[in-house]
């Protein structure tokens, strides 16, 4: 039953995806530094190789030859384990994502997904929820009060935003009627879900920024007050693994956003040339990553209490409302004709404006009370 070709297929597909992410991580650092530099009217790394394209290689070589410190009284086992526990979930998230339909390769029908399971979305939630361990353990095992505080903060932030993340998964599941990611993409053949669910997509993008601890939600690693937070005691390759986890998470979460809201591998001529699938995914992902870098260049860091407020008091009720709006809209469309499906975007945009208005009012009130 277990035939060797199948095992070989898994191994090859896994390695291809893993190395794609590794290469993506390396060149995302270059991409980010170049773009940030451009936005700040600097040049950025341009010395190593043409346009600085060898910079990531140089960085990697440098990090390998760095001394690795383990602080005294640190818990050595967990201290070494924590970076691994952080980077593995960040990579494993990519395992259920379809990069295309089927292609013929060496006379075999090959699915362009490593494992297209029927509980794909729940798998994403499970892996995302396990991803917090690396960070909290890194903070704890360092025996450094800033690291511990940063780890705890980071964990609290991640679990707070995981709720809104899970609920936006529910939005997609409602519309696609499936938890399998390939079926979710196929359900967007006629229309990307971002059209039907613009507010949901925006909330998802905000939440993912918080999940990967990116600016403006990079509070847990705030240099000014926490001395880089949970990874302040890490150096050399162990630090590189944390760095890698952050950037791989950025990539993977962009791929997930593309799959859930922006039509995944779909695009023109995909029916005739299935190999275009990964290309479309790549293009859309690069667009989202550019957005993330742009946000980092534009927005200042959010204060920690505001950040928790945003998660618990704004995004959570908003997405809960969106779930009910979407469910009602689907029901209306089923009962009284398909055009009523447009009630979903209309009502949810209204709900979005209402939320922004309420936040604005409460902030103004606080400001006036202070004066």
């Amino acid at each position: 039953m277990i035939d060797l070709a199948l095992v070989l297929e898994w191994v090859i597909k896994s390695l291809v995806v893993i190395f794609m992410l590794l290469g993506g991580f390396a060149y995302l650092t270059w991409f980010e530094r170049r773009i940030l530099a451009r936005m700040q009217t600097r040049v950025g790394p341009n010395r190593a190789g043409w346009q600085g394209l060898l910079q990531p290689v140089a960085d990697a070589v440098k990090l390998v030859f760095k001394e690795e410190l383990i602080p005294a009284r640190a818990d050595k086992v967990i201290f070494v384990l924590a970076p691994i526990l952080t980077v593995v979930p960040a990579t494993v998230l990519a395992v259920v994502i379809p990069f295309g339909t089927q292609v013929i390769l060496f006379g075999r029908q090959v699915n362009l997904a490593v494992a297209d399971i029927n509980v794909g979305i729940l798998f994403l939630m499970a892996v995302a929820s396990v991803a917090v361990y690396g960070i909290v353990l890194a903070g704890w095992s360092s025996n450094n009060k800033f690291a511990l505080m940063g780890g705890m903060r980071s964990t609290a932030q991640m679990i707070s935003y995981e709720l809104a993340l899970g609920l936006s998964f529910v939005l997609v599941a409602l519309m696609a009627d499936s938890l399998q990611l390939s079926e979710i993409v196929e359900a967007q053949r006629t229309m990307w879900f971002v059209v039907l669910q613009p507010v949901g997509a925006i909330v998802f993008l905000i939440v993912t920024l918080a999940e990967v601890n990116r600016a403006p939600f990079d509070m847990p690693e705030a240099e000014q007050e926490l001395a880089a937070g949970f990874h302040s005691e890490y150096s050399g390759m162990k630090f590189a693994l944390f760095f890698m986890a952050e950037y791989q998470k950025m990539i993977v979460i962009s791929i997930i956003a593309v799959t859930l809201f922006f039509g995944g591998y779909l695009g023109p001529f995909i029916g005739r040339f299935p190999w275009l699938g990964p290309v479309y995914v790549l293009g859309k992902v690069v667009a989202l990553l550019f957005g993330m870098v742009w946000i980092r260049a534009t927005l200042p860091r959010i204060r920690y209490d505001r950040l928790m407020d945003l998660g618990w008091k704004v995004l959570l009720p908003l997405v809960l409302g969106l779930v009910l709006i979407t469910a009602t809209g689907i029901l209306l469309a089923d009962e009284f004709g398909n055009s009523l499906v447009w009630s979903i975007p209309v009502v949810s945009i209204l709900a979005g404006f209402l939320t922004v208005g309420l936040v604005d009012r409460s902030l103004r009130r606080k400001f006036n009370a202070l004066r």
């Binding site: 967990i78 929820s129 909290v136 964990t155 679990i159 606080k366």
Partner: protein, 176 residues
């Protein structure tokens, strides 16, 4: 062939499950205990996969390994109780524990091998009925509707309980 392979996987998982459970009990550091328990939950999730119940497996990881164990870790850290002090040893307890454990094993063996007729064939459940999320939803929100709604009351109780226990100093919100 396929069955053999599954059997091997099963024994690996069983070893992991028992090993991590023992590790959790024996380790002197509360954080290590918590981590062993996470691994144990992972092994249990693996068993669910073998029973063709992927939904339950993923829910097990999300809720137990992902949420409840994070709470445990937080509690350990907020108490600063990472290192367990070795318990006081009462000299008469140890032989008594050995005797009692022996009796338990004998009793279990008696029940397993003598009282139950024919333990040989165990029917693998799950391969018959549909275990897709949609099917689970249909059953959960149809046949088991009342337990589901009661769950929400249970969750509400837990929420109120936690808030009352922690009892934040400041009542109401408003100011920074």
């Amino acid at each position: 062939m396929a069955v053999d392979f599954e059997l091997i996987m099963f024994f690996i998982l069983a070893g992991v499950g028992i090993g991590t459970a023992a590790g959790m009990l024996l380790s002197r550091s509360a954080v290590y205990s918590a981590l062993f328990l996470v691994l144990n939950f992972g092994a249990v999730a693996g068993f669910y996969l073998f029973l063709n119940a992927p939904f339950i497996a993923m829910a097990q990881i999300t809720v137990y390994a992902g949420a409840i164990m994070v709470l445990f870790l937080f509690v350990i850290m907020l108490l600063g109780a990472e290192k367990l002090t070795p318990p006081e040893v009462l000299p008469w307890q140890r032989p008594l524990a050995v005797v009692l454990a022996g009796i338990l094993i004998l009793e279990a063996a008696y029940l397993l091998f003598l009282r139950t007729p024919g333990l040989g064939e165990i029917q693998m459940p799950g391969f018959g009925p549909d275990t897709s999320p949609a099917a689970i939803g249909a059953i959960l929100f149809g046949k088991y509707l009342l337990p589901f709604e009661i769950t929400s009351v249970l969750l509400l109780t837990a929420m109120v309980g936690a808030i009352v226990l922690v009892r934040p100093r400041k009542q109401g919100g408003g100011q920074e």
